[in-house]
């Protein structure tokens, strides 16, 4: 399948051979270049081993069959969010989706609800355009709560769960017909800031979310939460924002009633 590795110690270990036994799988890949009248699908037979991911298979195609196949990837470990695709119709990160789990023929398409640039690459500007101004990358770490941070560090911090992959937006059936809906990722990011402001203006974010195309466009379908590869649980966060907005509205009304 590819160049032989030269690892610095034992190769040809018998426990390795089962894992490296090659089998062929068929990939049906969405193709589109700007200027084409319509997209089409191309089929490739790809050699795979136990570990081969959909992204590995696509890169094999790119290297050995068609250099013009455009792909998006970066970290190869579900941290950058660039390799989002629809695999057999379901949203997935290609770098952590094992080919052997999927059946003999696999259909690979770009994620939905964002404009296709070329082949499997979509225009992510449309995803980022939906996010509110305040969009923090770092939050306090809730892992290992029994640990003390070292001297000079107030609290352990970690990157936010959301990796801006767009799978939630792709999975949401509402976006299909309500294109202006801001979408799960954007709303979830607003809720994160409401939950942990870190100096941000929470009132602005609540006002931003309190919009017919904001939290109120959601129909509680929960596809976004199912599709999310990073445990963001956007649906629950949207509901939480609604709860907060409702609470504020009711309290404001009660205050108004008391004063009039």
């Amino acid at each position: 399948m590819s160049a032989q590795p030269q690892p610095s110690s034992d190769a040809g270990n018998s426990a390795g051979t089962a894992a490296t036994a090659s089998e062929s799988r068929r990939l049906r890949v969405f193709r589109f270049k700007r200027g084409d009248e319509r997209p089409h699908y191309e089929t490739f037979d790809v050699p795979t081993i136990a570990r081969t991911t959909v992204l590995d298979a696509l890169r094999w195609i790119q290297i050995h069959r068609d250099r013009t196949l455009a792909l998006r990837h970066s970290c190869l470990h579900a941290s950058c969010g660039t390799c989002g695709l629809r695999v057999n119709g379901r949203e997935a990160l290609a770098c952590v989706t094992t080919v052997r789990d999927l059946g003999r023929e696999i259909t690979v398409e770009p994620i939905a609800n964002l404009q296709v640039l070329t082949d499997l690459v979509v225009d992510m500007r449309e995803l980022f355009a939906r996010f509110p101004e305040e969009h923090a990358l770092v939050r306090e770490s809730e892992f290992l709560p029994e640990a003390d941070p070292p001297e000079g560090i107030e609290a352990f911090e970690r990157y936010e769960d959301c990796i801006e992959c767009g799978l939630c937006l792709s999975a949401c059936p509402v976006v299909v017909t309500a294109e202006r809906y801001v979408g799960p990722a954007a709303l979830a990011s607003a809720e994160r800031v409401v939950e942990e402001p870190r100096g941000a203006e929470v009132a602005n974010l609540l006002a931003w979310a309190d919009d017919p195309d904001g939290v109120w466009r959601c129909h509680a379908i929960f596809e976004c939460t199912v599709a999310c590869p990073s445990n963001v649980n956007p649906a629950a966060r949207i509901m939480s924002l609604r709860g907060t907005l409702l609470g504020r509205q009711l309290r404001a009304q009660r205050r108004e009633e008391r004063t009039t």
Binding site: P5, S8, G16, S74, C75, C80, D119, S141, P149
Partner: protein, 396 residues
């Protein structure tokens, strides 16, 4: 001579390669007023840059064996924290001694760090366990260092975002097919636009090869050779954040001696071997096993953690192939090659080597060379320019 404010059009530099090096160089040169085009065949950082474990190096790993690297790292570590605020998990790191042999290295290590300007704090076993309860309880001592975690893609994207804002033309999904060269003068590149499928030419005053482990391939397009050893290593991502601080093994470099937390994942790395072609990297099963074997020596919970991914990334190490089998012995510094000087080919430079942490420093060095070559009088301003957030790169 063209200085900022003159009416001659600014010199045009074409950067080939959209990794951290290319992005940082585009940013530096854009601030100096040059016209920049950057071409990257895939998504930005889709080569080696996006794949590393995310360590913002304190340099401590090199404090004993490779002082030059260590000093570069700690300087850039400090600068990056300043120009990219809010982009790191700033929890510091630990070097953990597990065996008596490790302890023999302990004093040299602390001394080496001090000599390189890397602040350390010596910790007892109990103090270390209070900071990181998941550490191997058999540990003997630990040293705290200013490591941090970076998002391997998002941090470099801040350089891209700022460069774009300052006028650089950054073109991803553009693959260089050939360099345009005539009589040993490189004047541009023939590129295929992956979005349209069409082929075209980009002309420039200077072409810079910033393609990391692909440097040799691209240099060959101009008929020159650069001594780059693509040196891959395997990494393992596990679900669950097993530590908040970066955890390193206190010994001379070896496989599987670092665990970097990242979001809700723990990355165990890494190993090392050399290849001819960085295009398709294997993930050798015995290397993955070794990550588990070495990882549990630092954090036993590695054994039970749920598997997320295993992958390889190729370091661009400088040195001629054949000098070493594993690639670890090669220097980790970076170099700029002006091929007019080294090979008699005008209009072409290669910048290569380096680590993710030193991207800005590499770019400064290379930009200085470029500006001298092009007669541009402009100082580097990247040490103090706060970068735009990575999301700005995607602003319509």
């Amino acid at each position: 001579m063209s200085a900022s404010g003159s009416r001659t059009p600014p010199a045009h530099v074409l950067i080939v390669g959209g990794g951290g090096t290319g992005g940082a160089l585009a940013h530096d040169l854009a601030l100096r007023g040059l016209k920049i085009t950057l071409v990257e065949r895939g998504e930005f950082t889709s080569g080696t840059t996006g794949r590393h474990h995310g360590l913002l190096h304190s340099g401590a790993r090199y404090a004993v064996n490779d002082r030059e690297s260590a000093v570069e790292c700690i300087e850039e570590n400090t600068i990056l924290r300043r120009i990219c605020p809010g982009t790191f998990e700033e929890n510091d790191g630990l070097f953990v001694a597990v065996t008596d042999e490790d302890m023999e290295y302990h004093d040299d290590f602390v001394k080496g760090c001090a000599e390189c300007g890397i602040p350390t704090q010596e910790l007892t076993r109990d103090e270390a366990l209070a900071l990181e309860p998941n550490l191997n309880p058999a540990l003997k001592a630990a040293v705290r260092v200013p490591d941090a975690t970076m998002d391997a893609m998002r941090m470099p994207l801040r350089f891209f975002a700022t460069a774009q804002k300052n006028g650089a033309d950054l073109r991803n999904y553009m693959e260089v097919l050939e360099l345009v060269a005539n009589q040993r003068v490189v004047s541009g590149a023939l590129v295929r636009d992956q979005v349209t499928g069409k082929v075209g030419e980009i002309r420039a005053d200077l072409v810079v090869n910033a393609t990391g482990p692909w440097s040799e391939k691209v240099a060959a397009m101009a008929g020159v050779d650069v001594p780059i050893s693509p040196s891959p290593g395997v990494m393992l991502a596990l679900r669950g954040r097993l530590c908040n601080m970066v955890v390193n093994r206190l010994h001379r470099s070896g496989d599987g001696d670092i665990i970097v937390p990242q979001r809700a994942l723990s990355i165990v790395g890494t190993s090392s071997w050399t290849v001819e072609d960085p295009e398709e990297l294997d993930v050798p099963e015995d290397h993955v096993r070794r990550m588990y074997e070495e990882g549990v020596k630092l954090i036993p919970a590695v054994a039970q953690a749920e598997f997320r991914a295993a992958w390889s990334a190729a370091r661009p190490l400088i040195g001629s192939r054949g000098a070493a089998d594993t690639g670890r012995e090669l220097s980790r510094t970076f170099k700029t090659y002006d091929h007019a000087e080294t090979d008699g080919v005008e209009g072409f430079l290669t910048i290569t080597g380096g680590k993710a942490t030193t991207l800005r420093g590499m770019a400064e060095l290379c930009a200085d060379v470029i500006c001298r070559k092009l007669g541009v009088e402009a100082e580097c301003r990247t040490r103090d320019t706060i970068l735009l957030p990575h999301t700005e790169l995607f602003a319509a």
